[in-house]
C-alpha cells in the first residue's frame, strides 16, 4: 500500500472512481481509492440503474444533463473494453394530483429553458408511449426521450480501469479506521492495512458518509435510509421508457437485458443501515405494479434486495471543500440519484480539488448552504 498520496478517496462506488479518474486525467496521479468491500458493493451496485435529466431544480438539471452527454460517449472516453449498456429509452413521469401536475408544468418550463427535449403529455399520449399503462386517475405525464438506463457495475468498472491505467491505486477490502489531522488540516488516513499520508481526503462513502465525516469531528446533515427493489425474469421487449410515479412513490423500467427492475420509496422507513429485503415490500410492489402496468402480473420475480439512500435535508448532494477542515472534501448525500450524476460529480470534484474553475459552480452545493439556509428543495425524488 502507498505510504504517501496527493489525495485519498474514501469509497469505491461510482462517484469515488469517477473522482479518481478525473483527478488522474488532470495530472494528479499519485492518488488512491479506499474501499471497505469491493467496487460498487454499496449504493452504486444496488441502485435502480436509471439515468434521467427530468429534475425540478436547476442544479440537479444541469448536473444530470451534463452527465447524460458523458454517458453517451463514455465507452470511447474511457476506452472501455466492455460496454456500459447505456440505453436511452426515455422516462415517463406520471402526475395524479393537481399539485403534482402544476409542479410538472414548472419543471418542464425550467427543463426546456435549459434545452432539454421534454414534453407534457395527456393521459392518451402517455398511453401511446407505454401502451400497457393503466391511465385511470392519471392527470398527465412528462416524457424525455434521452433519459434511460445504464449498467452501474460496468460504469464503475470502466472508470476504475481507466483510473488504474493512469496510475491510480484502488485498494478493496480496506477499511478506513481514522483520519489524522494537524490542527484542523488533513494529514493522513489510517486503515486496517496501514497509514497513508495525504493532504486531501474525499468523503465518497455513500451510506456511511456521516461516519467518515465524524472521523474529522464534523457533523454533516446526512442520514441513510433503506430503499428496496426487485428484478424479474427477462422477457421480450415491451416497455421502452422508465415509468415513474411520485404519487405512488415507485419506478419501473425494462432493462436492455429484458428483465423489469422496480423500486418503491417507503415514507415510514426509519434512518439506519438495514439492507435486508422484506416480504412486505414484495406484497406492496406486487399490488401497485399490477394496477399500474397490468400485463406484468404474470411475470416472475427472481430477486429482491435493498440499498441505502444517503439523504440530505433538501435531497440534493453535498459537494466540495469543507471550510472548517482544510483538505477535506465531500461528495455524498446523493439522496438516491448518485449514479446518474456521477460523471459530472467526478469532473467538478477534480476541478475543485485542483483549484480550477468548476464547469458548474459548486459553492451552492457545499456543506455551508445548510448554515446559510440556502436549500434547494428538489421536488422530484422517489
Amino acid at each position: 500500500m502507498k505510504k504517501t498520496a496527493d489525495a485519498v478517496i474514501i469509497g469505491g462506488g461510482v462517484n469515488g472512481v469517477s473522482i479518481a479518474y478525473n483527478l488522474a486525467k488532470r495530472g494528479l496521479t499519485n492518488i488512491c481509492v479506499l474501499e471497505r468491500n469491493f467496487l460498487a458493493s454499496g449504493a452504486t451496485g444496488r441502485c435502480g440503474a436509471g439515468v434521467r435529466a427530468q429534475w425540478g431544480t436547476e442544479m440537479n438539471l444541469r448536473m444530470s444533463m451534463a452527465s447524460v452527454r458523458m454517458f453517451e460517449n463514455m465507452n470511447e472516453e474511457l476506452d472501455y473494453d466492455d460496454d456500459i449498456e447505456f440505453n436511452q429509452g426515455g422516462y415517463l413521469l406520471l402526475a395524479y394530483t393537481e399539485a403534482g401536475w402544476e409542479q410538472f408544468k414548472k419543471n418542464v418550463a425550467l427543463q426546456k429553458a435549459h434545452g432539454l427535449q421534454v414534453e407534457l403529455l395527456t393521459p392518451a399520449e402517455a398511453k401511446e408511449v407505454v401502451p400497457h399503462l393503466n391511465t385511470e386517475q392519471l392527470l398527465g405525464a412528462t416524457y424525455c426521450p434521452t433519459d434511460g438506463h445504464c449498467n452501474p457495475f460496468k460504469v464503475t468498472d470502466a472508470y476504475a480501469k481507466a483510473a488504474r491505467r493512469l496510475g491510480v491505486e484502488i485498494y478493496t477490502n480496506t477499511t478506513v479506521t481514522g483520519i489524522e489531522r494537524d490542527g484542523d488540516r488533513i494529514q493522513g488516513v489510517h486503515t486496517d492495512r496501514g497509514y497513508v499520508s495525504t493532504p486531501v481526503v474525499v468523503n465518497a462513502a455513500g451510506g456511511w458518509s456521516q461516519d467518515v465525516a465524524a472521523m474529522v469531528g464534523l457533523e454533516i446533515p446526512t442520514h441513510s435510509e433503506r430503499h428496496q427493489i426487485l428484478i424479474t425474469e427477462p422477457v421480450e421487449p415491451m416497455q421502452r421508457p422508465m415509468v415513474m410515479s411520485f404519487h405512488h412513490n415507485l419506478y419501473c423500467q425494462q432493462t436492455p437485458h429484458g428483465s423489469f427492475i422496480m423500486g418503491l420509496g417507503d415514507p415510514t422507513e426509519k434512518p439506519g443501515y438495514n439492507m435486508e429485503a422484506s416480504w412486505q415490500f414484495l406484497e406492496e410492489m406486487a399490488e401497485k405494479i399490477t394496477w399500474l402496468l397490468p400485463p406484468l402480473r404474470h411475470i416472475r420475480v427472481v430477486r429482491q434486495w435493498a440499498g441505502l439512500y444517503n439523504m440530505t435535508p433538501d435531497r440534493t448532494p453535498i459537494l466540495g471543500p469543507v471550510e472548517e477542515v482544510p483538505g477535506f472534501y465531500l461528495a455524498c448525500g446523493f439522496s438516491g440519484h448518485g449514479f446518474m450524476i456521477a460523471p459530472m460529480v467526478g469532473v467538478l470534484l477534480a476541478q475543485s480539488i485542483l483549484g480550477q474553475k468548476t464547469e458548474i459552480p459548486i459553492e451552492p452545493m457545499s456543506l455551508g448552504r445548510f448554515a446559510r439556509g440556502e436549500l434547494f428543495r428538489e421536488p422530484s425524488v422517489v
Partner: protein, 96 residues
C-alpha cells in the same frame, strides 16, 4: 473454438468457462464480483448451478480454498414467483 469456450458455467446467463477464467485472471476473485460484472447467478435459478462451479474455479486459480472464500449473498425469493401468485390465492402451475 476450444473446450473452455464451449463449457457453459452459468446456464441462465451464458457465462463460459473461458470468460470466467479471464475475469478471475483480471482481478474479479469473489463470486459477488463475478456475479455483478458478468450476470452469472442473476438468472431464474439464482446461481444454483454456477455458484459452486465459480467457487471451485476461484479456488483453483487463486489458491484460496472454498472454505476461506466469503460466500455470496443469497437473496429471496428462493424460487421465481409471479406477481399474481404473490397477490394471493392458490398459485397456478404456470405461476411457479
Amino acid at each position: 473454438m476450444g473446450p473452455d469456450e464451449k463449457t457453459i458455467i452459468c446456464r441462465c446467463e451464458d457465462l463460459t468457462l473461458k470468460r470466467l477464467r479471464e475475469l478471475i485472471a483480471s482481478g474479479y476473485t469473489t463470486v459477488d464480483e463475478i456475479k455483478r460484472i458478468s450476470r452469472a447467478g442473476m438468472g431464474p435459478c439464482q446461481g444454483r448451478t454456477c455458484r459452486a462451479l465459480i467457487e471451485r474455479e476461484i479456488a483453483a486459480m487463486t489458491g484460496v480454498p472454498i472454505r476461506e472464500q466469503k460466500p455470496a449473498k443469497y437473496r429471496q425469493p428462493s424460487r421465481p414467483v409471479t406477481f399474481a401468485a404473490i397477490l394471493g390465492g392458490e398459485p397456478r402451475e404456470e405461476d411457479c
